[in-house]
Amino acid sequence: MWTLFIFQGLAGGLVTGSIYALIALSLVLVYKSTHVINFAGGEFVMIAAYLALFLLVAGGLTYWIAVPLCAAATFLLGAVFERVVLTRIQGRQRPGQNVLVAMVIATVGLTYVLKGIIRPFPYADEVRTLPPMLESGPIFIGNVVITRQDIAIFSIAVLSMVALFVFFQFTPLGRALRATADNPRAAALVGIPVRRMRSFVWGLAGALSAIAGILIAPKVLMTPDMGGLIILAFAAAIIGGFTNIPGVIVGGFLLGIVENIVGLTISTNAISVTPFVVIIAVLLFRPQGLFGGRAETKKV
């Protein structure tokens, strides 16, 4: 039985972990380029899920159309927020003053704004879930059960990560974004429009959150408070190292697997505690994360 639990935990954990990794990636992209921790990352996921619900159920569209539309919408949301709010906060920075805290608080404010926008809508007044992407009966690998939907979720998440990697490594825009994240002044000196790059990163993070939201929504329950799963993304990012993109991906998978195995071998009650325990443990023993560089303290 324990072997079954371990393998089932592994299989289930890879699926949920892939989603955690996507959301964590969106956090890290924003952090690397703007040094802002986006506390509204979970609400981007929530907004995308509800938009998909509306398009699929009320609009009668398919996932093939709904996904790009939702990604475009949250891309716009992220880019506009950066341009309209964060840039303004930065613009009011006085010499010697650090506005990072104000920017982070702005993201907290965004969480309430987004929840407030969704709550009056008809679909938000009761618990909902997205229709399944694929009709799924169980697929047994030995005694381990997975579904076609799980395979689809995992595949789409991994493909998204691969596409992101290709984008950053091999496209001019991707290289420009990396340059902006590494050294904004130098990037500006060589003619890269830094402000526009930052807006683009926020938009990209929004789009990633949308994909994560649409992947996770058929498996969970949609409520305006579902953005709380951002804590799982934080845990994944902290495990991997907040500035290390491959590390964050590994962190997401690890967290998903650990959560499942803890639930199977220790207690179902312990599942909700696992991310917090992981965060504490990593911060205590390796605060830079498993794949982060040297630990350093930065004054805010």
């Binding site: 079954l4 289930g12 909902r128 009966g137 059960v145 969970v220 329950l221 639930g263 599942i271």
Partner: protein
């Protein structure tokens, strides 16, 4: 007879008449502080503070139930009231929040001077009023909240659970699965809080009494996202039946996961898991998942079944709208209050009303079982029916199932 004697006689008669009028006036003056020991009652009326969540997300649980209670009181008034007194209702919105509920109850008591308070659709909010009403010695009769924490242990001034407590849920669920489905090994899924602990207590007791055992006891958070772990453990437990007492969100995930795992054993869900069957089915996403699915209800029929039709038609006629599934739950408390006010006699006091309510035995024609209180019993209803849903339609399973666990097992 001399004129002076006649004059004295008339004077005496006049004085006697004046005195009589004065004495009579004293008894007809509408000043409750002079004639009645408690506020909220006069010769003409009894004032009841009636509250429920009338706004926000919990409005669906409370608004129609409150209107149903008001409908019952209006009917009583149309028939002449109780001992000639009409019931006057003052309405408040408790927003399903402990702070707001307590504020509404305090306003009822201190400003509106009600005789009793009838309200509460949310347990955690209703419990907040217990200390206050006990201190102020004001009868508090819940509307449709289960209110486990407020009725166990029982206190003098708080009555509730007209729809049944979580003990009712747990006990009647196990009564059903053991007697009707013949289950001997039960997998039980509850929330990891007082709610779950309360229904599990009665479930375990009932299982022991009925010769069954709970072979898997899984507790899940209300916000659980992935139910793979509990469902896998249940699959490995060798259970005959799965009993789910969670709220609707986790319940939908569990039914969905059971279907994904190819689990064929019966699944029996508590009433709180399926407040809206249509939405529940959509959330599960597959009608095939309901091949062997049952859910409980404290009513005496399906929410739109023939035994409920009289109250649904009455509500539609009164308010010109179709009620939500929770509407019927508002009437039993109003029925019990009206009966107790009558039984308390022509000049009731709050204490007399409480004694009368504690002695209440009432068949409502709405609930699965009778309303019964007692000197040491403040949870009114202990029965459930069960409904089979097979993906196409619902049918009521014959029989009524009870929680018989004593107060202190």
């Amino acid at each position: 007879m001399r004129n002076s004697s006649i004059g004295k006689l008339f004077g005496a008669f006049g004085l006697a008449a004046a005195l009589s009028v004065g004495v009579a006036s004293a008894y007809t003056v509408k000043d409750p502080q002079q004639k009645y020991a408690d506020p909220g009652i006069t010769d003409d009326e009894i004032v009841i503070g009636l509250h429920a969540p009338l706004s926000g997300r919990a409005k669906a649980f409370g608004a129609d139930a409150l209107d149903a209670a008001r409908m019952w009181y209006d009917m009583i008034n149309a028939r002449g009231g109780i001992w000639g007194r009409k019931i006057r209702v003052i309405v408040g919105d408790d927003k399903c929040s402990p702070n707001d509920l307590l504020a509404v109850v305090k306003k009822f008591v201190t400003e509106d001077k009600v005789f009793l308070v009838n309200g509460g659709s949310c347990t955690h909010a209703a419990v907040a009023a217990q200390e206050y009403v006990t201190r102020e010695k004001v009868p508090f009769v819940m509307l449709n909240a289960a209110g486990d924490a407020a009725v166990f242990p029982p206190t003098r001034y708080v009555f509730g659970a007209f729809g049944g407590t979580q003990r009712t849920v747990g006990g009647s669920l196990i009564d059903f699965v053991t007697k009707n489905l013949g289950a001997k090994k039960i997998a039980y899924i509850a929330h990891d809080d007082d709610f779950g602990a309360s229904n599990y207590l009665a479930a375990k007791w009932t299982a022991d009494q009925n010769g069954a055992s709970i072979v898997a006891d899984q507790r899940v958070s209300r916000k659980i996202v992935d139910v793979t772990a509990p469902m896998l453990k249940i699959r490995a437990s060798g259970a005959d039946v799965i009993v789910i007492t969670t709220y609707t969100g986790p319940a939908a995930l569990l039914v969905k996961k059971a279907h994904e795992f190819g689990i064929k054993m019966p699944i029996v869900a508590a009433v709180q898991a399926v407040p809206n069957l249509e939405a529940f089915v959509k959330n599960v996403g597959s009608k095939e998942a309901f091949a062997n699915f049952y859910y409980g209800s404290p009513l005496n029929d399906l929410t739109d079944g023939p035994k409920q039709q009289w109250v649904i038609d009455w509500f539609k006629k009164t308010y010109n709208r179709t009620p939500t599934p929770f509407m019927s739950y508002g009437i039993p408390s109003a029925m019990a209050i009206a009966q107790a006010l009558h039984n308390a006699g022509p000049n009731p006091t709050r204490e007399g009303f409480i004694d009368a309510l504690a002695a209440t035995r009432l068949n409502t024609g709405i609930l699965a079982g009778p309303i019964e209180f007692g000197d040491n019993k403040r949870d009114g209803h202990n029965a459930s029916i069960f409904i089979k849903y097979d993906g196409a339609g619902s049918t009521r399973v014959p029989g009524v199932f009870f929680n018989r666990m004593p107060l202190n097992p």
